[in-house]
Structure formats: structure tokens, C-alpha cells
């Protein structure tokens, strides 16, 4: 069974306010309620230190440290194994997509963010989150 959106903490990282707003609106229409935002990697790192997120939507290019670099750092840290990282980026070529997935992205969404595509990808991410939670539960049992 997929994870339940209202139970999940979500962080949306993008330097464009309008993209944060678009992603947030799409998430709310899918039932998510616990949504925080950040406009750069430093702000995102602060948020992630203060709170445990289940899904992080992250832009590739950010001012300062890139979203890609930030995601790689968290992926190398085993404490964040169960966090789903979703790249939401205007980098639409296959090379970037493969690079992101190899570096540990759970999913890859290209801008413009179109509601049906977004909903479909998030559905798969919810499955991923649920499976990770099951595994973690089995390990601790």
C-alpha cells in the first residue's frame, strides 16, 4: 500500500518562488499537508537538520551549492537512506536524468511541471516510501 500523503513531511527546494508555489499546489491537491520550502541549499540544509523529511523535491540548479550536490551529500549519508529525493528540474536531457538517478534520485520530473505527469511520478514515489518503511520496520522487528 502506498504511503499516506498527509502523514508525510515534504520539503520543496527551488530558487524560483513560482516553482515552489506550483509544486506546493500540486502536492496539496494530492493530499499532502505538511509542506516546507527552501530557496537554496543552505536554507534546505537548515530545514533538514531541524526536521526529518520523507520526500524532498529539489531543483538541480540552485544559487551556491547545486541541488544535485546537496542530494549526493545526503545520499552518501546512510541516515538519509529512507528519504525520497525527487529532482524537479528544467534539465531535460537524458544525460542529466541518468546522472541524477545514478546519484540516488528516487524520481526525476522535468519542468514545466504538468499536473498529470507530476501526480503519476509522486504516486510511484509514495510506493517507494512505503516499501522503505516496510523494510525499516522488518529490520527493527
Amino acid at each position: 500500500m502506498p504511503a499516506n500523503p498527509p502523514d508525510l513531511n515534504v520539503l520543496v527546494i527551488d530558487d524560483h518562488m513560482i516553482i515552489r508555489q506550483v509544486v506546493e499546489q500540486n502536492l496539496r491537491s494530492l493530499g499532502f499537508t505538511q509542506i516546507d520550502t527552501a530557496s537554496n541549499a543552505a536554507e534546505a540544509a537548515e530545514r533538514m537538520q531541524d526536521k526529518r523529511y520523507d520526500i524532498v523535491f529539489i531543483d538541480w540548479i540552485l544559487p551556491g551549492k547545486s541541488g544535485y550536490a546537496l542530494m549526493k551529500e545526503y545520499r552518501e549519508d546512510r541516515d538519509h537512506d529512507d528519504v525520497a529525493f525527487v529532482m524537479v528540474t528544467s534539465e531535460s536531457d537524458e544525460r542529466h536524468m541518468i546522472e541524477a538517478l545514478k546519484a540516488g534520485a528516487t524520481s526525476y520530473i522535468t519542468k514545466p511541471v504538468l499536473t498529470p505527469v507530476f501526480a503519476e511520478k509522486v504516486k510511484k514515489v509514495l510506493d517507494w516510501v512505503a516499501k522503505r518503511a516496510e523494510k525499516a520496520g522488518a529490520r527493527s522487528a
Binding site: V22, S90, P112
Partner: protein
């Protein structure tokens, strides 16, 4: 060169329409008669961006947005005073430029080019690459009727400094 310009025009048209209609909830249509350069009226907001390669070839873009289109978009996403803030409208302009520029970059790089894209910025009308004789001028209107009246909601000017390899 002609084919490449046609291909770039196609990518820009498709992406602009998809971004406004599919993501931002604003109807926009590609308009014919794209020979003239972008308007330089006070109520336009200009977003500029550059794609360049190590070899020095570059493509410069200027997006001229009718402020009314951006204001409608902003109001739809930010009800209340925030929607009236100019920085919100500029953010939307740069976000759209960023998406369109990235799509063109991907299209050009598929054929062995190595374009990188700089971060779009809000500029002045003087950033227009419109005076170049080989520039591409793409006009968009809010609907067919305003297109017929020649009312621009957005004009995208593109100037290529060299012929990129391949077709998109």
C-alpha cells in the same frame, strides 16, 4: 541555418505554450507575423539569458513579457498583496525563461554541441538581440482575437552567433 532556426522556434513555441497553459494556468497562443522585434514599452518586463559554448558560439534570448500577463499569473498563485509585488512578476518571467532556455539547450546539445546556460536575469530593453538581421522573433498572444489585433503578451527574440551543429 534555416532548419536550425525553425527547430529552435518550434522548441520555444511548444515550451512557452506548455509552460503557461499546462503549468501556470494561463492561456497563450503563438501568433503569426513574427518579423518585428519585441516591444519596448514601459509595461513590459524583460528576462534575458545566454547559452554559450567553450568555442565561443552563443545564443542570446530576450523574453519581453506584457506585465498584464505576469500580473494575472501572479494573482492566480498569490491572492492578496504579495501578488501585486513586482519581484513576484519578475520571478515568474525568469522561471519561464529558464525552462524555455533549458529546452533549447537540450535540443542543441543532442547533436554534439556543448552549450551551457547562464542564470536568466531581469534586463532592460537594450538587452534585446532584436537588431540582428538573422534574429528569430516569436510572438505570443492571450488568444486568437488578440493575436489577430497584433497584441503581444510575450515576444521571444533569439540571436545565434554561429551555426550550431545538427538539427533538433
Amino acid at each position: 541555418m534555416g532548419d536550425m532556426k525553425d527547430d529552435i522556434a518550434q522548441v520555444v513555441e511548444t515550451t512557452v505554450v506548455e509552460t503557461f497553459s499546462g503549468m501556470l494556468g494561463q492561456t497563450i497562443v503563438a501568433a503569426a507575423g513574427g518579423e518585428s522585434a519585441a516591444p519596448t514599452a514601459k509595461d513590459f518586463i524583460y528576462a534575458c539569458l545566454l547559452l554559450d559554448q567553450e568555442q565561443g558560439a552563443s545564443a542570446s534570448f530576450c523574453f519581453s513579457f506584457d506585465d498584464a500577463l505576469l500580473a494575472r499569473t501572479a494573482a492566480a498563485f498569490y491572492p492578496g498583496p504579495q501578488g501585486a509585488d513586482k519581484s513576484v512578476r519578475e520571478d515568474i518571467a525568469c522561471a519561464v525563461a529558464n525552462i524555455v532556455g533549458s529546452k533549447v539547450k537540450s535540443c542543441l546539445n543532442k547533436y554534439g554541441n556543448n552549450y551551457e546556460m547562464a542564470v536568466p536575469f531581469v534586463g532592460e530593453p537594450c538587452c534585446l538581440p532584436a537588431t540582428r538581421p538573422d534574429a528569430i522573433h516569436l510572438h505570443f498572444s492571450c488568444d486568437a482575437a488578440s493575436a489577430a489585433r497584433g497584441e503581444d503578451a510575450l515576444v521571444v527574440d533569439v540571436a545565434l552567433d554561429a551555426i550550431p551543429a545538427g538539427n533538433c
